[in-house]
């Protein structure tokens, strides 16, 4: 079984934007897979379809063995999403927001409280745990978004620009945490990013998307060799032309 198997997905928005034009890809269980591309390429649309937040016009995606069209409810309990520009209930504290989502995912009280403390420590949120969401910095909000995405021990973790708005040192810490988390749990991670060093550090394989189509797919080394680029920045620049 593949963690994600996307087959010929197409999506056009009401304003006529063709966000995805026949995307097909497979992600292995336990893999960290990167979806790269310029703004408006269709990366987030792809993630939204895999996360069941958006229904494709054509094609299907199997996520953890279930179809996003036929069994979205079964998928939702076993995956989670962290998106850039984190937004949560503004009048709840960091801890209360995590508690709320822990309850939504059906964690028992003991399990939930243990997990919350673990995530607060992992993402250095201790000084802000009892501060309201609207009182903390963008970087702290983003760390909460990552913590929330791990609250249900997801088998599939979707990360949409996970380190956007973070200071470089915190971003590095977060990337290390993602790697450590994936290694410890064996979960599958699908990440979109603009930061090529992030893709290089995290991803075993990447797909480069532009204008709703996959232009290239492979390991970072394979893509660099194929495109004769010295690093992933070079790959990006070559494919984004």
């Amino acid at each position: 079984m593949k963690a994600v198997a996307v087959h010929d997905i197409q999506k056009t928005y009401a304003n006529g934007t063709r966000a995805l034009q026949g995307v097909t890809l497979e992600v292995e269980v336990g893999e960290i897979f990167g979806v790269l591309g310029p703004n408006g390429a269709g990366k987030t649309t792809l993630l939204n379809i895999i996360s069941t937040l958006l229904v494709p016009d054509m094609g299907d995606a199997q996520v953890l063995g279930w179809s996003v069209l036929d069994d979205p409810g079964k998928i939702r309990g076993k995956m989670n999403l962290c998106s850039g520009n984190a937004n949560f209930a503004w009048s709840l504290t960091i801890r209360e927001n995590l508690r709320f989502y822990g309850m939504l995912y059906g964690l028992s009280k003991a399990e939930r409280e243990h997990k919350i403390e673990e995530l607060i420590a992992a993402f250095s949120l201790e000084p802000f745990a009892d501060r309201r969401f609207d009182e903390v910095s963008t970087g702290t909000k983003q760390r909460l978004a990552l913590a929330k995405a791990m609250i249900n021990n997801p088998e599939l973790l979707l990360l949409d620009e996970p380190t956007v708005g973070m200071d470089p040192d915190i971003a590095l810490k977060v990337r290390r945490h993602i790697l450590e988390y994936q290694k410890r749990t064996g979960c599958t991670v699908l990440v979109t990013t603009h930061y090529m060093p992030e893709a290089q550090m995290l991803c075993g394989r990447v797909a480069f998307v532009r204008d709703g189509k996959i232009l290239a797919l492979g390991t970072p080394d394979e893509l660099q060799t194929k495109l004769k680029a010295k690093d992933m920045e070079g790959v990006f620049l070559e494919l984004a032309k």
Partner: protein, 257 residues
């Protein structure tokens, strides 16, 4: 499902505790409505039963509005905090999404009902006709509030944030047609027939018989609860369909932006 109901109740409780507007909603408008109607009744020298008849309208309006706002807030708070997508990323269904805040709405509604009834008893010779009729009225009002809050959510999912205003207008429109200070039979024929489709009409008609008012509608409780069962079932089905449509069209994501 119970865990998720409790999650939404927990969040709504925290919103209510920390938001000054929720205190204003509970105190200001319901008290203004009750005071103005009570004083008007005194000025017109209404009998005690007539006074109770119209005060019932003011008390029910305050209770209904506060309770249905909590239900409508389930989606509105998600929109205001741009967290709609995170909520519907979880295995949440439409039933628990509304029932959780409705539980808190009933607590707030009971406080408003008790406060308005108590003050009306003290200041305007109001009286309640006993535990059973009062409990039946409250159950009817709370279930009507669930229905209205659900309808607001459907409108917002269908038409986006511009439909938010329905959260503050629905209760007034419904009770205007259901007979706020008068029996529904006083309405023009078209609106009278609309009133017969609103469950609240039957609960008001039933409750007012205890103030010497002869019932205009036969079997009001059977019809009231029957209509509620049908309309609440239809509301949940409609909400589920609206949510599916919002996932298809991308509205669910736009509400998170």
């Amino acid at each position: 499902m119970i865990q998720r109901i409790l999650a939404f109740a927990y969040r709504d409780w925290l919103f209510a505790r920390r938001n000054i507007f929720s205190v204003v909603e509970m105190l200001f408008w319901p008290i203004v409505g009750m005071l103005s109607i009570g004083l008007m009744g005194n000025f017109l020298q209404l009998t005690r039963d007539q006074q109770a008849f119209i005060l019932t309208g003011a008390i029910v309006l305050g209770t209904l509005q506060v309770t249905q706002l909590d239900v409508a807030y389930a989606l509105l708070h998600d929109i205001w905090s741009k967290s709609v997508k995170h909520t519907f990323l979880t295995p949440t269904g439409v039933v628990e999404y509304l029932i959780g805040p409705w539980l808190i709405g009933m607590v707030r509604g009971t406080v408003v009902f008790s406060m308005l009834s108590g003050f009306s008893m003290y200041a305007f010779r109001f009286y309640l006709p006993g535990f059973t009729p009062t409990a039946i009225l409250l159950i009817g009002v709370f279930m009507n509030a669930l229905l209205m809050g659900g309808l607001v959510s459907i409108l917002v999912l269908q038409y986006g944030q511009k439909a938010e205003i329905s959260a503050w207008t629905f209760a007034y429109l419904f009770i205007l047609v259901a007979g706020i200070y008068y029996p529904a039979s006083q309405l023009p024929p078209f609106f009278y027939h609309v009133a017969l489709l609103i469950p609240l009409t039957y609960f008001l008609d039933y409750f007012r018989t205890f103030y010497g008012h002869s019932a205009h509608l036969a079997h009001p409780l059977i019809k009231g609860f029957g209509l509620l069962a049908i309309s609440i079932t239809a509301m949940f089905a409609g909400l589920k369909m609206s949510l599916s449509r919002a996932r298809r069209t991308g509205v669910l994501l736009r509400l998170s932006e």
